[in-house]
Subunit: 501 residues, 2 copies
């Protein structure tokens, strides 16, 4: 019998949802699997090859390390010249004797497709599948490795989301930040407020995510070790909410009369907070992750400034003419509402910048490129955990290999103590939806996001762009082979292209 | 009986291949159709609706002109409020009595899918297909409206090429400039020199265009009124040629000995010209169009300068150290070789710039953005016809709606006489292949190239970007509906998206 030992990454245990799930009293069916994973830690997965590899079936030639092209690069990696042949018919992965997990651990059984393992397999010149004897000890550098997709500016059909979850798993991303609604459309179908999508989606039937669609996304992600964090951004970016929820938005005024247009959520009406209470109660049960993203970015004050009722309220509250105080007033009440659902929350950096009082476990997302280092310093200096997305806005395109720019970012390159650096728990590649939909999203995201994946997973010392290029070219071909239309890095071709056509 | 009269565009007759075919003595089978088209001119196509439209089936509501969203905008267009319903089961287009063409004119029979006609059809709120009574008199502003695709930097599978020919037809492009081979790979399978693709393609079987593939591209294009002009670029951009053709390329030297690398085609050997004679003899029969593009751009002199035999030849010829004279020497002989095949030729602007003696009917392609107006002035001043591609290099991408930049170009905006302006016969949108392959080519090309399409087809006065945006959004949705994954212009959705999913 022949063995390959893989020290599987214990990262799933370190990510917030699992920590929080432990604190939470209510265990859903989903939690069973999570506890099963917790039980497995520290996990030593021994991959036993019971049937597949025959004695004496060594392939007597050295395989170059860089030809194996792991992506993202594992933390420790030792390959040898000893190669085995794999037979798809008889190969299997089984639990090792010393493993604390068993066949009841469904995520793990599913994860026996372990991504890194599959990347070790290569075709030799005779078309046979080979794998070299390899010891891998791996874990991610950062716990939060996210992709933001925006399903409001363009509706993204389910199959696009699922395909990208598959691609995320191939790149060891573990958070799908679902920017699900925004100004242009409201595709989330709410059980409590069905009019939100009925009147706020591009189309009430074809351009919505039904409850079962959402469940499918969450389950598909879960089986790939990916958390789904939904974002319901308020009080700005809410034009589409207003279609289906009367009086939610602030009426803007032109002189002394309403102009017919609307601004951010109306922060001076109790009805707004009653709505948010019911709405986020639903959201907290639909999305099992311990975190919800509450947005809070880019609030335009001009409508508030035009409205006489708002102005009166400002005076009453003693806010003067500082509308960021009104914004904070709203956000503060919203955070209390969401905290009551036992969820943690993430917010865009403006919420922190405006001095809103935040719970200790709030995650602040730094997205503004200008003075990014200063912001990281301030946020972590105040003791908050943070994730970085500012350098990774992948909707901004330019000619050439911009993946290199994403790759060269060092997230901890800001002034701060070691304790501050530890508060940077990861980052996100964001693909905002102005210019992407089902026709072009996937090739635009991959393999550019792969550069972010390696930065967030691999050791800080992994910075050689030339070496990364070689591996990424292969990794991109691997994605294409698996049906992800990742765009080319540069001139060339993939070996498996167009066979059988 | 109800009629819609369409004055079909006589442009097919005005494009160079048809003019030249008249001069040419040898008529291939293909020419029968071309002559049939010539016979039809000036063509008045009366579209008679014999079965489809019932009397009294008027739809009594006004359809806004801009909702019909023709693209590119016809030269003259008069719509009325009178609307008819179309039934797919019984509708047909037939020859009018006064038409000089008959059912034997196969291109015309096929063209009864006339692109503009289909764009007049719109769905009403009840899902029925409608068409308003419309008189259209149309012709293109420029005869040459091309798309350049590059199948060397990345191989483009046949279905990608065919899909883009379909999209070209929808946008009234009429020239497919097939940049088929270049430095990285040689996918054209030559009958005379099979080693060129055998050893120069990315893969000798999967990454090649067989003779039947090439025929299919040409026929698919022909049925859509599209000429296929192949480009075999020499003496530079020929690295891939060297793999399968010994001694074709110049050996570069490092000091006094060959370095093992190769430069442009070796211009001092008779064997190079013998090869070109045989090669272009084949090309002239495989590609029926009257023109071949011979490239001639970006010749790097460093290898020639390193080679002692080349240096000796320079002295013998009295070229001094002016290697552009050597380049011209090569090009001049090549042009003579190709002229002997009775083909016209197109060249990149450097060939003109270097003072090579050109046949009168040579088309010079202006591609260098810097001093583009000056170049147009010079080329047309010397009496040569020209096409413009400099402002339309669509491989250069940037964030936002760059189609507007392409749209705002006025090709005749250079100093020159009316006679000079008439020598600008059109332009081309070029999508070079460094960063595109089957995964992302089509959404990157469309609808950005559509902006170029309207600039080259519609009247000079059609310049309203706001109006164009509205129509182009609809036109892009029409492409998506027909299976062309054209990317979105901006935030929004298409009405027909995701139905039945």
């Amino acid at each position: 019998m022949t063995w390959v030992e893989v020290n599987a990454a214990p990262e799933l245990i370190h990510t917030p949802p699992f920590r929080l799930k432990q604190k939470s009293a209510d265990r859903t069916a989903l939690n069973t699997d999570m506890y099963c994973l917790l039980k497995c830690a520290p996990l030593i997965l021994a991959v036993a090859v019971c049937h597949g590899w025959l004695f004496g079936d060594f392939v007597g030639k050295q395989k170059e390390l860089d030809e194996i092209s792991l992506w993202p690069l594992p933390q420790k990696f030792q390959s040898s010249a000893v190669a085995f042949k794999l037979s798809p018919a008889s190969f299997q992965i089984v639990h090792a004797k010393q493993s604390s997990a068993g066949p009841s651990c469904s995520i793990l059984v599913n994860a026996f497709r372990l991504e890194t393992f599959s990347q070790l397999v290569y075709e030799d010149n005779y078309g046979a599948n080979n794998i070299n004897k390899t010891d891998i000890s791996d874990f991610p550098r950062f716990a939060h490795r996210g992709i933001l997709l925006d399903s409001s500016r363009h509706f993204l059909p389910l199959k696009v989301i699922l395909a990208n979850l598959e691609a995320m798993a191939m790149n060891k991303f573990n958070v799908f930040h679902w920017h699900i609604v925004d100004d242009p459309s409201f595709p989330y179908m709410s059980r409590t407020f069905p009019d939100l999508s009925q009147k706020g989606a591009y189309h009430p039937f074809t351009h919505v995510y039904t409850p079962s669609d959402v469940k499918m996304v969450i389950e598909f992600a879960r089986m790939r070790g990916i958390r789904v964090i939904p974002e319901f951004d308020t009080p700005g970016h809410t034009q589409s909410w207003g279609n289906g929820q009367l009086d939610l938005l602030t009426p803007c005024y032109s002189g002394s009369s309403p102009s017919g247009t609307f601004g951010p959520v109306n922060p001076i009406l109790n009805s707004s907070y009653d709505f948010m209470t019911q709405f986020f109660k639903e959201i907290s049960t639909v999305f099992p992750d311990a975190y919800i993203h509450l947005g809070g970015d880019e609030v335009d004050f001009s409508c508030w400034k035009s409205n006489p009722d708002i102005k009166k309220f400002m005076v009453q509250q003693g806010f003067g003419t500082d509308y960021s105080k009104l914004e904070s007033f709203y956000i503060q009440r919203l955070l209390d509402i969401v905290a009551a659902t036992k969820k943690g929350y993430m917010v865009w950096q403006e919420v922190f910048d405006n001095g809103v009082k935040l719970k200790d476990d709030t995650v602040v997302e730094v997205w503004i490129g200008n003075k990014m280092e200063e912001e990281l310093q301030n946020v972590t200096g105040a003791g908050f955990t943070t994730i970085l997305s500012a350098p990774w806005y992948l909707d901004y395109i330019s000619y050439g290999q911009d993946w290199q720019r994403y790759y060269k970012v060092e997230p901890l390159n800001f002034p701060g103590t070691d304790a501050q650096k530890k508060l940077v728990i990861g980052g996100e590649a964001c693909l905002w939806g102005e210019y992407v939909d089902a026709t072009n999203l996937t090739p635009r995201l991959w393999p550019r996001a792969s550069a972010v994946a390696e930065r967030l997973w691999s050791d800080k010392s992994v910075t050689d762009v030339g070496n990364a290029y070689k591996r990424l070219v292969q990794h991109r071909c691997r994605m294409v082979k698996r049906g992800i239309p990742a765009e080319p890095l540069f001139v060339g071709h993939c070996r498996q292209e167009y066979m059988g056509l």
